[in-house]
Subunit: 419 residues, 2 copies
């Protein structure tokens, strides 16, 4: 018998109806049968959160000047996970597995009061560990908590992943298993490159880069939390057969030290949610960049990649940067405002771009990674518009039409089909 | 300015969608404008409770030998009122009326642990009164509470009426206004007797008799609670225009002492939910009745009216009693079992009966009420099968076909069309 604590998490599509909740029940039962002391974190049934968000919109939550209605938004929306938690507890009992539901306020999961996007501050583990160690499955409503004053909060979209990791950390679980609609983290998107391979393990740092670069398997916050508390997270398919999950199933997100065979590059990620803003003929004087990026920051427009180059005349420069595609119009508007002040010649926005990135902790100790990237892309005639790098990642901005070509070329160049 | 505390309660059809919740908001706003310090109790949106009950059934709540799943049933079903409370609080704020939602656990409404049909044990009023007196409307999820251990409970169908009255008692409200789909309590069902009149006032005792006799305006438990705490309850239509509710609107259920002009009979009630069980040729020996009614009680079959008469032979008797129509088959089965033991000749069940009753506190001090009842029915050729009486009520069991005729005859006989 394993006799260790395990947290399992199921998203909205895994609990969309009673038949699927029963399937979740069987997956839980199998882990209990292996001797795990289990806590399960559940999301709202698929579609229910959207239904409730629509009601809150109709009730006027979005009305200007009424931010405080967000606390009532949380009251409404948190009811979705409550329903699923109660139903799964019933289903488990009917299978002969002792179970008890917990809402955020009952554990309690203490958060700050940033309603709609609250951050977990504390989870006293005693209620859960006492129950789990007595052989009862704790069925926990994800996505929710309460303030120290006893008001309901929610953690924002995808918050159930965060709930699960935070609970795993609080109860000292050996692992947090996140059941999702994919069977793990791949070297790249298998819809683009058929030879993409599932990674058995990936480090927290790599996963963070992958997640923020557009591989939407795990919520970034949950990975940050897992890294901070050194909780191993496993991503696996909710279509795994009960009892069949083994050490080889899914992808384990863990500390770099726990990955025996280090790869130079672990994966190729891409994102089409970018837009490029180019400023032509900027006066080449100190303080110009600062004024541009201050204006964007004040408007809460996030800037990602930045490149600056000399223009045709010696005292002028060109600058290009990327923003989220949703923010493109806003960014253009802001640039037109600062144009009068700064006096550059022209501004252009191009939404027809993609960011392609290679990610790998091995880069830290290997040279030539960027060079092979540029070479592979050049061989396929892919023009690089902007480059940005971090310690474990290199990103390039290219014409969106070349996305698939670039992804496949890089996947082959780093030998990822042989992982 | 009135400056007194008022509790308002709205049922599921009054909050069925956002448009109706806005209407409720305007009704609340009007009472606030009058200077009331308001608490509002809301039910789940119409249909939502049924949806959730269906899920819990599918999840196996009804499975034999699993009564403890009722605590999870409460977790699921209580989410309905939570949604409405949050939405109404938002709507009120958007109208410029400060509001804050409260769930059962937040006030808290402390109940026993009889999940699915819990009884309220205590409501510490401080949280509510502090808020109300500071000018904020407390929007309270009805139908729910929590055990002293912090588990969610529900009060059973119609429990929101009970929540509202209990909260009115706890905060010392001047009145509890129950908004419903009728505009008050009538001398009889207006669908049967067009000349039925709305009563301006009715005593708790009369209302209890009316409610238990089939006039389904208020839940019996809520009336009992109002009587125990002397909380005046007003029944009024949710289609009342905002600000138009006056002293004359609806029906006030109150202490007998507060009704100036006492009527002998206040109303005529009827119920078709009865079945008559007749036992022929019972041995006329002591202990026979006891054995019959013990057997029924053990099977949780409630017996209402009972009559016993001599049969054609001197040492035998006939007996008739009524049970709820749903229990008729069960009662017949039980009678067939005890027949072997007791040895009566025959048992017959007749579901084609109706109970018609006249109710009025004035009966206590007036003689001849029963006599006028029997006379009025005889004049219309209505045969009386069983009679039962209490201090303020006389009920007769008749052939169901005569129900409307009997109701109209009695309504006229006691001059109720002139109330």
């Amino acid at each position: 018998m394993v006799e260790s604590r395990l947290v399992m998490k199921f998203g909205g599509t895994s609990v969309a109806d009673i038949e699927r909740i029963r399937r979740v029940g069987r997956l839980v039962e199998a882990e209990v049968a292996r001797g795990h002391r289990v806590a399960v974190v559940v999301s709202a049934m698929a579609g229910k959160t959207n239904e409730m968000v629509a009601w809150t919109d109709a009730a006027g939550r979005a009305a200007p000047g009424l931010p405080e209605s967000d606390d009532e938004y949380d009251v409404v929306v948190a009811s979705g996970e409550q329903v699923t938690a109660g139903l799964l507890a019933m289903v488990l009992r009917n299978m002969g597995v002792p179970a008890k539901s917990f809402l955020g306020w009952q554990i309690p999961i203490i958060t700050d009061d940033a309603h709609g996007k609250a951050r977990i501050e504390d989870i006293p583990p005693e209620n859960l560990t006492a129950l789990m160690d007595a052989g009862t499955v704790a069925v926990i409503a994800g996505f929710q908590g309460r303030t120290p004053e006893g008001r309901i909060t929610t953690l924002g979209r995808g918050g159930s992943d965060t709930s699960a990791v935070a609970i795993a950390a609080a109860v000292g679980a050996i692992r947090c298993d996140i059941y999702t609609d994919v069977d793990g983290v791949y070297t790249t998107d298998p819809r683009i490159e058929k030879r993409a391979k599932r990674l058995a393990r990936i480090s927290y740092e790599e996963m963070l880069e992958m997640a923020s670069l557009g591989a939407k398997v795990l919520q970034t916050r949950s990975v940050e939390l897992a890294m901070a508390h050194r909780v191993p997270v496993r991503v696996l398919s909710s279509f795994t057969e009960p009892g069949e999950a083994s050490a080889d199933t899914g992808t384990i997100v863990c500390d770099e030290e726990e990955i025996m065979e280090k790869r130079i590059v672990s994966g190729v990620a891409f994102s089409r949610d970018e837009a490029k803003v180019t400023l032509f003929g900027l006066p080449d004087t100190p303080g110009v960049s600062s004024r541009i990026f201050s204006a964007l920051a004040e408007a809460h427009v996030n800037v990602d990649m930045i490149v600056q180059s000399k223009a045709r005349t010696a005292d002028h420069a060109n600058m290009a940067f990327t923003v989220g595609r949703r923010d493109a119009d806003r960014a253009l508007e802001i640039m037109r405002e600062v144009q009068k002040d700064i006096g550059f010649e022209e501004v252009a926005v191009d939404a027809d771009v993609a960011k392609v990135s290679v990610v790998g902790v091995g880069m830290r100790s290997h040279v030539g990674v960027a060079q092979s990237m540029f070479k592979a892309l050049a061989e396929k005639g892919v023009n690089i518009q902007v480059i940005s790098t971090s310690e474990i990642k290199i990103s390039v901005l290219i014409d969106a039409a070349y996305t698939e070509l670039a992804v496949r070329a890089l996947h082959a160049a780093y030998g990822l089909d042989q992982v």
